[in-house]
């Protein structure tokens, strides 16, 4: 048994962390929020230059053709930095949807541009309040009508993969008159969300859509887990570092058990979540039959770890944590997004139970 990342994967993660530490310090995030930016465009191009955008895109389409664990270490780094880039939308979901479900022409048209960062994709899966995966838009005779909302990063995206009525996938060029994009207020200020209205917009069926949708979401869940693990660990270290330097009642705040025990619990949750994410990445690469179980467990434990880490990080900081100048709030907001996007706890609890042999579990 060798249940560890390879040396190459560890190195990839280190490269990603180093690049992000360099290019997206917290002051950069504050500046992006103050200027009401949609994203960190220079960072996106830097990620493209390093080849990170093409990690899982096949070599014949300009990518590196690597696997879910290679992608995972990058997602973990992005989560740690709370980076303001559409990586989840464009690479983990958009490009992967096209790879799994697109026609050869669709792949050839979009994957090279997504790998190079010249185009951005998004995945429109929700249709207003209610389940995370819903229709809301219908495809008929190559024309798409209806609405999808909220859709992450749709302001900067060139193309959307749209979950349509009947559970198929459609590919829609967003730069056309039949598409209206309306920016919504986003609780996560570093990941904008939009409402998309389609009024007979030209759209293409993605031939493998229905067959690929579950796999796409499961793989996305594994990557979301990596992102949340990175973010949870960042919160843990931020809280630890603050407590270490803060003196209170004549000694280090980090010396009090109320703080030590809380952070120890977060450390345990984060390691369990990381272990499940590794399993999810391994299953995505090597054991597709185990992917639903692995993805659901990874997603649930990552939500749990990041939730506690984001909340208690702010708490450990005390009043300073409530200020815009401290850095806790980036994660506090991002956490709520990661807790619900791609389905929340209810969705993944059902999926996990359904994946257990002998439970005869029914979906709620």
């Amino acid at each position: 048994m060798n249940f560890d990342l390879s040396d190459e994967q560890k190195m990839l993660g280190e490269q990603a962390r180093a690049l992000l530490a360099d290019l997206t310090p917290f002051d950069r995030l504050r500046a992006l929020i103050d200027s009401d930016s949609e994203w960190d465009e220079p960072l996106w191009h830097a990620l493209a230059e390093m080849g990170f955008l093409g990690v899982t895109i096949p070599e014949e389409h300009g990518g590196l053709g690597l696997g879910a664990l290679d992608l995972g270490v990058i997602m973990e780094a992005l989560g740690g930095a709370n980076a303001a880039v559409p990586f989840m939308s464009s690479i983990v979901l958009g490009a992967e949807a096209i790879r799994l479900a697109g026609s050869e022409m669709q792949k050839a048209a979009w994957l090279p541009k997504l790998a190079s960062g010249d185009a951005i994709a998004t995945f429109a899966h929700a249709a207003g309040p209610g389940p995370a995966f819903a229709g809301g838009a219908a495809l008929e005779g190559g024309r798409l009508s209806g609405s999808k909302s909220p859709v992450a990063d749709a302001g900067i995206a060139h193309v959307a993969v749209v979950l349509v009525e009947g559970s198929g996938l459609a590919l829609v060029d967003l730069d056309q008159t039949g598409v209206t994009r309306t920016r919504l207020g986003s609780f996560d200020q570093l990941r904008p969300h939009y409402r998309l209205d389609f009024d007979g917009a030209a759209a293409e069926v993605m031939p493998g859509g229905k067959a690929a949708i579950e796999r796409l979401i499961d793989q996305g869940a594994v990557q979301a887990a990596f992102e949340a693990v990175g973010a949870a660990e960042a919160c843990l270290h931020m809280a630890r570092d603050y407590a270490m330097e803060r003196q209170i009642f004549g000694r280090s705040l980090a010396g009090y058990q109320a703080i030590k025990h809380k952070l120890a619990d977060i450390a345990v949750m984060t390691e369990l979540a990381r272990s499940n994410a590794y399993y999810g990445g391994w299953a995505a690469e090597s054991a597709p039959d185990e992917l639903p179980d692995a993805a659901a467990a990874a997603r649930l434990s990552a939500i749990k770890a990041f939730e506690m880490a984001a909340r208690e990080n702010l708490q450990v900081h005390g009043g300073i944590g409530y200020t815009f100048e401290a850095n806790c709030h980036f994660y506090y907001r991002r956490e709520r997004l990661l807790a619900v996007h791609l389905g929340g706890r209810g969705y993944w609890a059902d999926r996990l139970l359904k994946a257990q042999p002998g439970s005869q579990a029914k979906a709620a």
């Binding site: 270490m244 030590k260 391994w282």
Partner: protein
């Protein structure tokens, strides 16, 4: 990343599997029925003898001392294969192999190694642990049982005091014992480690009636127990270092577990909810079961990561405590949920409902899992200090001679 054995590991597993297939079935315990503890201990001894005869005892022990000198990874593989059978394994043999032997091997002299190691591996000597006291549990170094030199010039030690939580002390041959030999120095510095024959006059064990109804733990009274100096392990005052060697063995050994979730899932799926569905249709039930499952998988794959570290020759250190910390609480929660789902039938099951009986027992037993082998709070301190690098606890007693301490 893969779950497959290396060729070398696979060969070892095949060898272990073949040997176990030929020898383990004859030693398996009958399913469901609890044996009298004397018989369980006897069967444990017999299995030790079989392992010894087959060359499977002391797997990670150095060859020079009679072990096989294998890696931690191979020991895990053997434990996995052995775990496929319901064998008489428990504290009555593992305290010897997992605690007494490491400390004798590390701190004992050649004469002691020759006397105890082979006999223990062979199953001829079984051991209990006389460590904790009524006022010394997590703070073990606060122990009060004392040993003084006999005044007859023999060099023997005379021991007086009381020990608790000594599993199987009533049925084992020898004990590892830590006592205070110098109360004039700070508490960690005045301890000395001994081995003692449990038949020595002055040793009296009384069963402790536990909340589970079982009595596998004892309190042990030592009254003018005479121990020859030849049974001292390590130097006078070196007792704490010996204890650390023992406790490291305990920590790494914890973590073999049954999950309890699978049967609970099956129970929920098979039990009507009174509205035409099953209990598994209840969203709150689904959420709790899913959380427990996700945690359980996380523990399993975290163990796999630790195993990988061990097989690469790295020491997981305080990371090992994370598994135990997570597992014990989840186990309590899972069994608590299992009782809750049963409603009143969980409190008062129909005659013959052995499954509910097991859940009741496990819910009670889970409390001791959170205390023994490193209490939750001790483990949290260790994780905070050794993994996260946070400051150690304020110790009021650190530099104070033991005899000057309050209490």
């Amino acid at each position: 990343m893969d779950f497959n054995d290396t060729p070398q590991e696979a060969a070892f597993r095949a060898e272990a599997r073949a040997w176990l297939a030929a020898h383990a079935p004859a030693h398996e315990l009958p399913a469901g029925a609890a044996l009298p503890d004397t018989e369980e201990a006897d069967r444990g001894r017999a299995w030790m003898r079989a392992l010894y005869a087959g060359g499977w005892s002391g797997l990670t022990f150095p060859k020079a001392l009679g072990g096989r000198g294998l890696s931690g990874a191979e020991a895990v593989i053997f434990a996995e294969e052995e775990g496929r059978y319901h064998l008489p394994k428990g504290p009555f043999t593992s305290i010897g192999t997992g605690m007494a032997l490491p400390v004798i091997a590390r701190h004992g002299n050649d004469e002691q190694k020759a006397r105890f190691i082979d006999a223990t591996l062979r199953g001829d000597l079984t051991w209990c642990q006389l460590f904790s006291e009524p006022a010394a549990g997590s703070d073990l170094a606060a122990l009060r049982t004392k040993a003084v030199r006999a005044d007859d010039g023999s060099g023997d030690w005379i021991v007086n005091g009381q020990k608790v939580w000594s599993s199987w002390a009533h049925l084992t041959d020898w004990a590892i014992l830590v006592v205070r030999t110098d109360p004039t120095v700070p508490k960690h510095k005045g301890l000395t480690f001994f081995v003692v024959d449990m038949k020595t006059p002055g040793i009296e064990t009384r069963p402790i009636r536990q909340i589970s109804g079982a009595c596998e733990f004892n309190e042990t009274f030592l009254t003018d127990v005479r121990i020859p100096d030849a049974n001292r392990i390590g130097a006078e005052g070196e007792g704490w270092a010996c204890c650390m060697t023992v406790l490291m063995g305990e920590r790494l050994g914890s973590g073999a577990h049954r999950s309890g979730i699978e049967p609970l899932l099956a129970y929920a799926a098979a039990t009507p909810d009174g509205h035409g569905g099953t209990m598994l249709d209840d969203a709150a039930v689904r959420q709790q079961l899913a959380e427990a499952l996700a945690d359980e998988q996380g523990e399993r794959f975290f163990q796999a990561r630790l195993r990988t570290m061990v097989s690469k020759g790295e020491n997981p250190g305080a990371l090992a405590g994370m598994v135990k910390l997570a597992y014990a609480s989840r186990y309590q929660k899972t069994n608590g949920l299992a009782l809750e789902l049963r409603g009143l039938a969980g409190i008062a099951p129909e005659a013959g409902d052995t499954a509910t009986g097991e859940v009741q027992y496990d819910y009670i037993y889970s409390t001791v899992m959170r205390i023994a082998g490193g209490a939750d709070e001790v483990l949290r301190n260790q994780i905070a200090e050794r993994v996260l690098g946070m400051p150690g606890e304020v110790r009021m007693d650190k530099d104070v001679p033991f005899e000057k301490l309050k209490g």
